[in-house]
Amino acid sequence: MDIRQQKILAALENKDTSVYFKDALDNEMVLNMGPQHPATHGVLRLLIKLDGETVAACVPELGYLHRGYEKLAENCSYHEFIPHTDRLDYLSPLMNNTAYVLAVEKLLGIEAPKRAQYIRTIISEMARVSSHLLGIGALAMDVGALTVFTWTFREREKMYDIFELLTGARFTTSFTRVGGLAHDMTPDVISAVKAFFDQFPEKFNECITMLNTNRIFVERLDGVGRISKEKAIAMGMSGPNLRAVGVDCDLRKTQPYLIYNEIDFDIPVFNDGDCLSRYYVRLNEVKESVKIIRQCLEKMPAGPVHANEPKKVLPRKEQVYTKMEELIHDFMLINFGVNPPVGEVYHAVEASKGELGFYIQSRGEGHPWRLKIRSPSFMNLQSTSMLVEGGMISDIVAVLGSLDPVMGEADK
């Protein structure tokens, strides 16, 4: 251990990580919200200073779910890291799988076949729908409407059945592979997806009518947690939260990846920048996602789902057991990894929470030298204190619900 590292370690050991307020006036109460609290969406800790019911100051503290994924990636081969991406934004694992392999493919300079790209689009959008359903349900639950949460969960449950049929797992899907997918989407999955989205709009309308027509719900969110366009950009907000302040920015349109430029869809944008706008953006995005999935299902071509790059793409298992060539490739890929050229690459996708980017630096080895995850939840959470200060205690939960952070992703 060199002297510099020793110094850093000493500083970390001595550092008092507890948070104090400088001037706690006597009649102001300091309250801990989280990490173990019913409304903080995981293990977010908020230290709040209260003047009566009004929030005078708020300090968010993150890191309770830190598992060191960025460091872990440095010791994983490119394939081995795919299951870890499930655990980032655990509400939309399929989207994370896709985002990660897209970055690796960009580094390798290969591209998955058309069919694989269509399937990736479909599963990404399904993940977005499922994540937004939870976001809307949890927001409703945070402001007190317990029932809507179970209604949206019913729809999510049906989607999880489809994920199970497609990937073999409901939650930790790990479905994508570098240069393709784990396997093809079978006709029964396609018909299950079609059947689901035939009944979904009606059920979804049921859920949101419960909320949109409820004056208490709308008034709980209207004008709460407002942020200006400039501040939102300065705080690095992205995704639905950014589109709620009137910025028409969606990576699916501005830097099209997969097959988004072949699909016709709109980007919902609202201008108020409050909790209600964020809710409306999510709600309309779900509708757009349904549109995208329907078009993808129609246009999806036949063909392979693996790129024809034997030295970079894992061969099929049945071929490994029967053919010499594939056995050798499998051995090399598993033991030494795909060795991408020296260089660095950043690829971002529009995930359900915002811009999910993977920055990979390669030194030509089988594992990344550095992998940085640009997680949207972390960036969105930065503005928490700005949004809740001056509001009431009840607004905190509304703001958190409308920001829709996932701590697995924020803490990495």
Binding site: L31, H37, A39, W151, M210, N214, I216, E219, S394
Partner: protein, 359 residues
């Protein structure tokens, strides 16, 4: 055979508590609430204990006795136990003046005994109920304070602020009824609601005579019972469990019990004051014997009562919760002016009844 009034009252109290209120809490409260919420939320609800899960409350409630009673080290032990005790006592006591029916004529040895179906027919019934609902604040506030927990404290303070704010509109709403019936005796208020109104077929219930008063009273009662959308004292997402965060076992059970009882008391008061209490309309056309009439009237009371309870539950499972400032604004800026307006209008219509307006 004459029995002393004390013994008679004791028998009535035992019957009301053990044969009406506790079964009501178990089935109309715990079981129905769980089943109803399950149906609303696409779930099945309890269905394992007994046929259709009917024995679930019998498993739920005794279970609480066998749980460890955890009193936080920082808490004030005496007040910590006093809180649920006050809540429960107050919640039960409200039913002392509730008229479940008129009188039940029982013939013993050829002598007709008219048993009043009310524990205490006192001449200040309305004030007694108001006084008790003010006292109910103590149970919650004391338990919130004694736990020495910030969520509890906030819940306790919130609830006292909320309950006393709605206490005002509660008191003001009832004045309209008192003006109409000129009595504070609850049984007499029910009797005053006999007969028919306007077109000769609408029962002369106060809900039709006092629509504004009914709305303000209904909303205030929701707030008094701390049920959604007014359940700020125990707002789960922000205050964890509010004033009963630090309570376990039967002490928590006592809060649950008193919450259900408060809801029943609210339903009973709404029935008594606005829905004609035990009055069953059109019953005089059926030529029934007085005993059967009396039973039908008790049935009518409990039907209305149960319907109100079901309404309370449906609202609870379909509404979000108010924010503190919205709640206070409704209480002070909407409810109080409305109930004052109700008093003025009621006086006007009593002095110059509606049918004399156009001649």
């Amino acid at each position: 055979m004459e029995i002393s009034p004390v013994i008679e009252a004791l028998i009535k109290i035992i019957v009301v508590i053990f044969f009406i209120l506790l079964p009501c809490v178990a089935y109309l409260g715990v079981q129905l609430e769980r089943k109803l919420s399950a149906w609303i939320q696409n779930r099945v609800g309890p269905n394992r204990v007994g046929p259709y899960g009917l024995l679930q409350p019998l498993a739920d409630i005794p279970k609480l006795f066998f749980k460890e009673d955890i009193v936080p080290a920082a808490a004030n032990k005496f007040v910590h136990s006093l809180g649920p005790l006050i809540s429960l006592t107050i919640a039960f006591s409200t039913f002392a003046v509730m008229p479940f029916g008129d009188t039940l004529p029982i013939v013993v040895n050829g002598v007709v005994h008219n048993i009043s179906l009310q524990i205490a027919n006192v001449n200040i019934g309305v004030l007694y109920v108001l006084a008790l609902s003010s006292l109910a604040v103590y149970g919650i506030t004391l338990s919130g304070w004694s736990s020495n927990n910030k969520y509890s404290l906030l819940g306790g303070i919130r609830s006292s602020a909320q309950m006393i704010s709605y206490e005002l509109s509660l008191g003001l709403s009832i004045i309209g009824i008192v003006m109409l019936s000129n009595t504070l005796q609850l049984n007499d208020i029910v009797k005053a609601q006999s007969g028919y109104y306007l077109f000769g077929f609408l029962p002369n219930w106060n809900i039709f005579v006092q629509p504004i008063g009914f709305i303000t009273f209904f909303v205030a009662m929701f707030a008094e019972t701390n049920r959604l959308p007014f359940d700020l004292p125990e707002a789960e997402p922000e205050l964890v469990a509010g004033y009963h965060t630090e309570y376990t076992g039967m002490k928590f059970g006592m809060f649950m019990l008193s919450e259900f009882l408060a809801m029943f008391a609210a339903a009973g008061m709404i029935t008594t004051l606005y829905l004609g209490g035990w009055q069953a309309p059109y019953i005089e056309y059926l030529n029934l014997s007085p005993f059967v009439v009396s039973l039908v009237q008790v049935g009518a009371f409990f039907t209305k009562f149960a319907l109100i309870v079901v309404f309370f539950m449906i609202v609870r499972w379909s509404m979000p919760r108010f924010r503190y400032d919205q709640l206070m604004n409704i209480g002070w800026k909407v409810m109080i002016p409305l109930s004052l307006l109700n008093i003025a209008l009621t006086g006007l219509f009593i002095l110059k009844p509606i049918h004399t307006w156009f001649n």
